[in-house]
Amino acid sequence: MDSILRVSGLITQLHNGARIVDDISFGINAGETYALLGESGCGKSMTALSLLRLLPDGVVRAGGTAQLDGVDLFGLRESDMRAVRGGTSAMIFQEPGLSLNPVMTVGAQIAEVLALHQDMRGMAAQQRCIALLDQVGIPDAARRVTEYPMQLSGGMKQRVMIAMALAGQPKLLVADEPTTALDVTTQAQVLQLLRDTQSASGMSILLITHDLGVVAQMAHQAGVMYAGQIVEQASRAQLLSRPLHPYTQKLLAALPDANQRNRALAAIPGSVPALGSITRGCRFAARCDQAWALCNEQTPAWTVLNDGHGVRCHLYGNTGLRTRDLVPSPQPPAFSLQPPVPSHQPSALLQVKDLRVHFPIRKGILKTVVGQVKAVDGVSLEIPQGRTLALVGESGCGKTTLGKALLQLIPPTAGSVQFAGHELTGLDARKLRARRSTMQMVFQDPYASLNPKMRVAEILEEGMTALGLHGDSSARQSLVDSLLDQVGLARISKWRYPHEFSGGQRQRIAIARALAVSPRLLICDEPTSALDVSVQAQILNLLKSLQQQLGLSYLFITHNLAVVEYLAHEVCVMYLGRIVERGTAEEVLRKPRHPYTQALLSAVPRIDGAQTERIRLEGDLPSPSNPPPGCHFAPRCSHATELCRRAYPENKMFSSTHGAHCHLYPDIPD
């Protein structure tokens, strides 16, 4: 088969000699997608930037060759290289909001590419822009071409980026985490678009991702990167059904889902080693439970099995010393199947009734209120002791605002929040402080949630000091020690600063900080979305075991349905400030009733290949300042009727716990 890109022996390193990309070789066939999979810090993006010769300062390519469509990329002059970038190869980036120039119209940015690589100007370029935008599925392309990036949603911006990439008619598209910053429904749209474009134009795609689900949907071939090396390379089917390298096996096992509900996830201990820290032996050996002495002494060679499946591991190598039998990794310990709560129905720990958070929109000199952004619009929910309620929805639906309103970080406009029978809304600061210790929050971004200028001990002590808990400072210090034990960090680390920790360790510190005041409810706002899969598994395990030990309740705010399946007892699906469906995890995820829930579930990329029929959601989330009349979901719903556009549906109950706001279902008499 003719390969469009052939990379061999690529080495990229820092000036001090630490190798970021260490001897990588792979090829991409014409019209195929090659996925480069791995955790952050493994050198995936640097590989792509090396190929396009766009490395940042301080990083240099130190060896290797790359042939793109028969042209030696590293032998070109810089002026010729410019014809390659955007011409034969194009790149799209992770953050669509940052990759478009905010002061140029969409059309002008695409026309720039056309003028450079297709020598197309004036009306012809304008026509081509519109055609391209049409091709990437932007509605009303003729109008959009004159708009500015800020007028577009995130998904639209990524489509424009793809249109720009397509403008040069590239043979190779380098997509660096193209959907990581997008919602699951938008991700499904963009992935579909990439597949359609590929089958129409026959271009190849180098897809960089950390998401096994994306690999399962997109890739023909896949390479798994670890610490700068490709450790396994195979076709998609081979990789997913029969992963060889222990790292790949672990990555697959670390994915949370419903089948593992009652046991701990197979987390990979530790984190990716620092650049250039390992020069001898297998780089994964320290985290591998199948490693033996040889793994630390000798760097494993690249072994290709009969079926073309390549792997860099002593388990399969013909090292002559010992070839071990494949030992199935031990099953992770099971959590007790016993529900952590007593069997009698407990009274709700947190009871929220008709909570509303509206932000006024002010205009003019007099700042008159011209409208309301209804971020949270009449939400009611209950969380019993020791249970987990997952709040699911796309970004912008008001999940985080709801979480902060519960903590009274944002004052609610109306409604009531009762914690263990005590009303929290409308309390003054002093009375509220007395209740603060009962409810705490774990934030999304572990890099922004810890003050970089405070040591771990100070961070953990802050809440206790502010709330006047746990007596004197020596008592607090011993509590800090036991908290660090509880979240699995060394006691010595309390004298260190946050920047010395990895993302997963920082999230552990954030959890310990919340636990320091002995709360009964934790509001977890996407606590794992900024983390790698293997680290996500560590954190989920930690949260689950803490629930077992301490009887904590969780409000788990997330958009990741796999995490919901693994962790949640009950699920609420939120759309535009309102809860559209609620029920136990089993009910909502197995028998979704609301079309929105169904669409969300079908958009999740599955790795088992059992792809359900996709329900495509058209368009984007409407603005909460101007919600559509009737059912908010009606404009995007394929089942919508006239009634849906007129009246907001009542809650229909399907069981004592499962209900949805939808006109599709007839009123069920009690």
Binding site: P56, F443, A448, S449, L467, V517
Partner: protein, 455 residues
């Protein structure tokens, strides 16, 4: 005691700043994460050479800050009487330079005055010629010997300086290298500086190296004395700006609402008043007050000093708005950070959030802007003194030197040395401060230091 130590207002403020600086440095040494950017500064050759130059200026300024009054031999009914003249340790060290005043202008290294004068000789004849200086080159009988003497003194002084520099450089080499500091550039800079100092010192013993001014004062002495004024203007002003800008800036950014509105109105109004007018009005008012209350001051130095302190004050009042605006913006960004919200969720009081969470995270901005402002303030003093609303005319400063030299720029032949030395010293000071500030900013800028860890 044969002297009485005098602490002027500005001296007290300098000591205060010094104490604050030392305690800050000590605090930074205890905290690894604070020390980290300074390590980067220490590895930057430009920064360290600038720091070397700056610390020499600082040394001169500090020596010039230790003031005292000499006990006079006569006493008043058994009471000790001190000289009305306030001197500094620096004046004492450079006593020859201070006391060796000529009649009027003389060029650098000259043996005669700059203009011809009528001299009546013993036989009654009046001739017009260049009179010999009282001190400059007075040890030579024949003016022809001057060039050889200058060369000899210059070389011997340079050699002595070079040796002293070498001694210091070699003894400091090993500890420097151990800390990973740039040894070679520092070594070269030390040698050059010591050579220049040695040469100047040896020549200054017999000549006026940079000439004399209108009333015959040594220009080198004037330039060195100006350093203290410049440093005080550059640093004491920050004592005024810093609390205002810090407190108001982070309070406006964090508390928002009406507090933000009020603070914004204040600094918007303040920054739209022409600052030179405001300073002129305030300084003139102060001058009137000083003149009508002579009983407040026992020496003329303390009178001039009060005006200097007041100038710092008024400069501070007009220059805090920039930093305040910067800090407000940064705080607006910080208050949305999740660790602030985590603290709010614990019910941590606002004041504690401001001091524990926001203040430490804006300190790098404060530091950068202070170092950057320093050079601007030194220049501002020169401009204000030139306009006539700066320091007291009796106080030696770059501004008064320039102001005095300005009138002579029009005459022929031109008296260029006073202006040139003020220019040269100011350039060295401000350039060193600017280069150092650049290095500090780079070291504290996370975006510039990320490339090393990018992966």
């Amino acid at each position: 005691m044969s002297f009485m130590p005098v602490i002027l207002w500005s001296d007290a403020l300098v000591f205060l700043l010094l104490a604050a600086g030392i305690s800050c440095a000590w605090y930074v040494r205890q905290h690894e994460h604070l020390l980290l950017p300074w390590r980067r500064v220490a590895q930057n050759p430009t920064a360290m050479v600038s720091l070397l130059v700056l610390s020499l200026f600082l040394l001169v300024g500090l020596l010039d800050t230790l003031h005292y009054r000499v006990l006079l031999p006569e006493n008043n009914n058994g009471q000790k009487v001190y000289s009305p003249e306030v001197l500094s340790v620096f004046d004492k060290l450079l006593a020859p330079l201070r006391t060796h005043t000529e009649k009027t202008y003389s060029a650098p290294l000259a043996m005669t005055l700059y203009a011809k004068e009528s001299i009546s000789e013993a036989n009654g004849l009046v001739s017009r010629e260049y009179p010999r200086l009282r001190y400059g080159g007075a040890h030579l009988s024949d003016p022809q010997q001057r060039d050889g003497d200058v060369l000899k003194r210059g070389l011997s002084g340079a050699l002595a300086g070079l040796l002293a520099g070498l001694l210091i450089a070699l003894s400091g080499k090993r500890p420097l290298a151990r800390h990973g500091w740039p040894v070679r550039p520092l070594l070269i800079a030390t040698l050059i500086i010591f050579t220049v100092i040695g040469m100047t010192a040896d020549l200054a013993g017999a000549y006026h190296v940079l000439g004399t001014d209108k009333v015959g004062q040594d220009v080198l002495y004037l330039s060195l004395k100006s350093i203290r004024t410049g440093l005080i203007i550059g640093t004491v002003t920050t004592l005024v700006t810093l609390p205002l800008a810090l407190l108001l800036g982070i309070a406006a950014g964090y508390l928002r609402g009406w507090v933000d509105d009020v603070i914004q109105y204040i600094y918007t109004v303040l920054s739209s008043i022409p600052s030179v007018l405001l300073i002129a009005a305030a300084v003139l008012m102060m001058q009137v007050t000083i003149d009508t209350h002579p009983q407040w001051f026992d020496t003329s130095a303390s009178r001039a000093d009060l005006r200097l302190v007041f100038l710092c004050l008024i400069l501070g009042v007009t220059s805090w708005t920039g930093l305040c605006r910067l800090l407000r913006g940064e705080t607006l960004k910080l208050r949305e950070m999740e660790y602030i919200q985590a603290a709010q969720a614990f019910g941590v009081p606002s004041l504690r959030i401001l001091t524990r969470h926001i203040l430490p995270n804006v300190m790098h901005i404060v530091l950068i802007s202070l170092v950057m402002d320093f050079s601007g303030l030194v220049l501002a003093e020169a401009v204000l003194s030139y306009v006539g609303v700066g320091v007291d005319p009796s106080m030696i400063s770059f501004g008064t030197m320039i102001n005095a030299a300005r009138l002579e720029m029009g005459r022929d032949p031109v008296v260029w040395w006073a202006l040139a030395s003020a220019f040269g010293f100011m350039l060295a000071l401000v350039l060193a401060a600017n280069l150092f500030a650049d290095a500090v900013r780079d070291a504290f800028d996370p975006r510039l230091n990320r490339s090393a860890v990018a992966a």
